[in-house]
Amino acid sequence: MPTNTVITAANEAFLRRINELSGEKVTRCEQCGICSAGCPLVAEMDRTPAEMMRMVQLGDEDIAKSKTIWICASCFTCTVKCPRGLDPSKVAEALRQLNLRKAVDYIDLMNIPKEEMEILPQIALVSAFRKLTG
């Protein structure tokens, strides 16, 4: 977890940007951890959803480079459970978008194995490309 106690203007700008993109007030998060407890993909993440929320609160831009934001599949389990009515899946989306809007792709869509392309349904490809290509 980040331990910086001095919030710089850059930190604050980052928090504001994520609030704006996600439409959430991330500072309302009380760090109860229910999002992390319910997340079906938390074991794959390098930061738990609650850590992600905390890092955004502190304006720590490293969260935008985390694996967590790409692992989140927007299953909305945290959305349903958050006692503060926050939607961490929207925060993860905002962080993904920060990357994707620089025309960065998280997956290489030209090199998906042929045998996989033959069986993958369109629904899988469309959603993966929406979430993971810029």
Binding site: L21, V80, I123
Partner: protein
Amino acid sequence: MKIPYYPGCSLKTSAKNLEVSALAAAEKLGIEMVEMPRWNCCGTVFSLTSDDLMHHVASVRNLVRVQEMSENGSVDTTNKMVTLCSMCFNTMKSAAKRVRENAEDLVKINSFMDTEPDYNGNVQVLHLLEIIRDMGFDKVSAKVTRPLEGLKIAPYYGCMLIRPKEIGIDDPEDPTIGAQLFKALGAEIVDNPFKKVCCGAYHTVHNKDTVIELAHDILTHAQEEGGEAISTSCPLCAFNLDNRQKEIKEKYLKFKEMPVFYFSQLMTLAFGLGEDACMFEANYVDPRPLLKSKNLL
């Protein structure tokens, strides 16, 4: 009831068995689903950022088609549409909600889609399961000619049918709509503690291991509770739970295959509509041996 029907891309290919069985089952219940002309991909996932309207255009364009059908009398419902795929349902309902509640977004999208008639913001996006529930499950029972006696079904709901709360068609914490339907068909219901856990969704494209783990959990928990088959309404869940059993078996040697049904396949079976309407041959794990062992085929 004659209602505009939005199929979605996968229902024309990998999930043909969902479309064929659902159309047949719905017809039996007096619901005529009329495929909308010139529909386009819904986008499959709803964009969650506040400023991203571009990714809702696809859904709204489909809603314009519904509006046109209501106006030209090709259906007898007004501003209603039905979907079968959970993801299409979620994406389009979310988009419909967003433009209904944000007049400014609606104006922006309408002015962007300058080759289309303006969308009026009134279309209601429904899932077939909702329509059936609202008709009453007793209407379903009345059509059953071959009760699914002795078949132990573990309904699986996944994410997009029940979450987030304002979009889902059932209690996001304890959905029962599938259980009620299959009970009406005469099946035995097994409650799977993993019934609303994500299957890994599109991770199946680039991160198959995650999907294998999640699907293994979902399937084995259903089996531990005594389930003989699992049900779904989503072509992506179906792919991950059904087709990925190939990889699950390679990783977990003790894993035993388990059929994955679309909810509608169980309906056509119980309604006695014949195997052509069930399209079991399109399922990856063949459910026919199980059904034969229960004297259901």
